[in-house]
Amino acid sequence: MGLNAYLTLAAVLFAIGFFGVMTRRNTVGILLGIELMLNAVNINLVAFARFNADIVGMIFTSFTIPITVAEVALGLAIVILIFRMKRTVVADHLDILKG
């Protein structure tokens, strides 16, 4: 399969994740959508690296994966913290920053 096929697959995955981020009301659900989008980006990076025979793209991916994991850990810690304060995880109810 050519590079085009892998990029198309990643684009579909990104669109699905985007759909999830926009439609979910639960904060954890939104985080899961972000995970899907990040995975699509990683597929793109690895595909470009493989088809250009350039290993640096894979290095980049090996940096993005741990950073994403750190982001998820922090995001969920924030969700738990907000849950303690507001007793809800629904994004619409989180309006404490509203002036």
Binding site: M22, A49, R50, F51
Partner: protein, 164 residues
């Protein structure tokens, strides 16, 4: 049909099907389990792209780590709230239109771009080369990543500490 093509289509169907289940399932817990499947399928895609090391990292960090953290968060909050967290979706039509438009735009760009079809041969062992470049040319970002993970760990601990 060669093995390469068959593997790609199998992985593509698995990945897109599980990703759709992640965003459409009502039960949040099932959603996380579908996410685990789609992350594993992504590891398969990495394998199909000759990136064995990244496939292993993907399985260990994502399918192992992230899914565990999310399940933990769901169980904790559900225990505190005392009821099941179902997740209602809203604006389904607008969401479908916008993400469809995004997909359409990306595919249009892809169709016009001149992209390589054949994979060039990589003579060296990819994992060995990755390790070598990581420890020589990219050693500074590598160390910075260690600091970032430490800060992330401290931050998560600080946020999620028990109430005094």
């Amino acid at each position: 049909m060669t093995l390469d093509v068959a593997a790609f289509w199998g992985l593509a169907v698995l990945l897109i099907g599980s990703a759709l289940s992640v965003v459409l399932t009502k039960n949040l817990f099932h959603s996380v389990l579908w996410l685990a499947l789609s992350l594993t399928a992504t590891a398969g895609v990495f394998l199909a792209l000759d990136a064995e090391f990244l496939a292993a990292v993907q399985l260990l960090l994502y399918a192992g780590g992230v899914v565990t953290i999310v399940v933990f968060a769901i169980v904790t909050t559900e225990r505190l709230i005392g009821s099941r967290m179902s997740q209602v979706s809203r604006h389904l039509v607008i969401g479908a239109i916008l993400s469809g438009a995004l997909l359409f735009a990306v595919l249009r760009i892809l169709r016009g771009a001149a992209l390589p079809v054949e994979r060039p041969v990589i003579a060296v062992d990819v994992t060995r080369a990755l390790g070598h470049v990581l420890m020589t040319e990219f050693v500074l970002p590598f160390e910075l990543l260690a600091v970032l993970l430490l800060v992330g760990l401290l931050g998560a601990l600080y946020f999620a500490r028990p109430e005094a």
